[in-house]
């Protein structure tokens, strides 16, 4: 089937475009805005935080490419391309969620050895299983469980800490939003109303963090 002009594909595509732009630009903004602070301090927490948003940006960029290809043609660049895009989306999303949570708990982990490579390896393995096996729902539950455990650890840490994190709930909701996005991407054909609700909630979370970052780092 020939490619359709972008303006003929209805409101879904515009919604996808707008939503993806919000998430990708917010993530890039956070990554770039925090560069100077990281360059000056080489602070581990800032590094994990920045990398997390870079990966969220990558996840939503690959998701957008898959969606656009699905919209523009019935048989886009083939099944292989779709699988590859899905693999990147899932890998980057899991790694981003775990890194975000790790950015607030790393100080409490006694063994100071660098953990980031392990987070990438775990994320790559889970992503490969999800994309290349037929056990997709099981693995999404596994990711949800992973995020819940990491979230509980972060919550416990925050409860004991003198320095209470104001945005903890937003931190914990970001991976949740990504799981819902992943579920909608992999299994469910959601209606435009459901998509609108999901996209609005996810956008609010990203915009909240973007706003806070820009407020703290004024120039």
């Amino acid at each position: 089937m020939p490619f359709r002009p972008i303006f003929l594909t209805g409101p879904h595509l515009w919604l996808e475009l707008f939503y993806s732009l919000i998430i990708i630009l917010s993530s890039l903004f956070i990554y770039l805005k925090t560069k100077e602070l990281y360059d000056l301090t080489q602070h581990q927490g800032i590094k994990y935080f920045r990398n997390s948003f870079l990966l969220f940006g990558l996840a939503f960029f690959s998701r957008f490419i898959i969606r656009i290809m699905n919209f523009l043609s019935d048989d886009p660049l083939g099944r292989g391309f779709h699988q590859f895009g899905l693999f990147i989306f899932i890998y980057a999303g899991i790694a981003a969620g775990l890194l975000l949570i790790y950015s607030i708990v790393w100080k409490n982990i006694k063994n100071s050895k660098e953990k980031e490579p392990y987070i990438h390896i775990i994320s790559l393995i889970i992503s490969a299983f999800i994309v290349f096996t037929s056990k997709k729902p099981n693995f999404l539950f596994l990711i949800a469980a992973l995020f819940i455990i990491a979230g509980i650890l972060a919550y416990q840490y925050n409860k004991k800490s003198e320095n209470k994190i104001k945005l903890l709930i937003v931190y914990l909701l970001l991976p949740t939003a990504w799981i819902l996005n992943a579920a909608a991407q992999i299994f469910i054909r959601v209606s435009i109303t459901t998509a609108l609700v999901l996209y609005t909630l996810s956008s609010i979370l990203f915009l909240l963090i973007t706003y806070r970052v820009s407020k703290v780092i004024k120039n």
């Binding site: 000056l40 301090t41 800032i46």
Partner: protein
């Protein structure tokens, strides 16, 4: 009892001392004013040099002095933002 300084605070204090001494200070007074043990001081000064926050300069008599790099001045200027960011985001 005074609260133990964190790493960012120690770095800030050392940079501020160098700046306050007309941006040129010998190792011994810097050690004294920094309020660190010799071992910790050596670790910190090594890190400051590696991160290029501080420059080591030798005079004609081969005596060592420390002075702030441009990055070091930037660190001092942005310190309150750095602290606020790390505190706010729980990093």
């Amino acid at each position: 009892m005074a609260k133990k300084r964190d790493k960012l605070e120690v770095i800030y204090d050392m940079l501020r001392i160098i700046k306050d001494k007309h941006n040129s200070i010998k190792p011994t007074p810097l050690l004294r004013f920094s309020n660190l043990s010799t071992q910790r001081f050596q670790e910190y000064i090594k890190e400051l040099l590696e991160k290029e926050l501080v420059l080591e300069i030798k005079d004609k008599k081969n005596k060592r002095f420390y002075s702030l790099s441009e990055k070091g001045f930037k660190y001092l200027e942005r310190y309150s933002t750095i602290k606020e960011f790390i505190f706010d985001f729980g990093l």
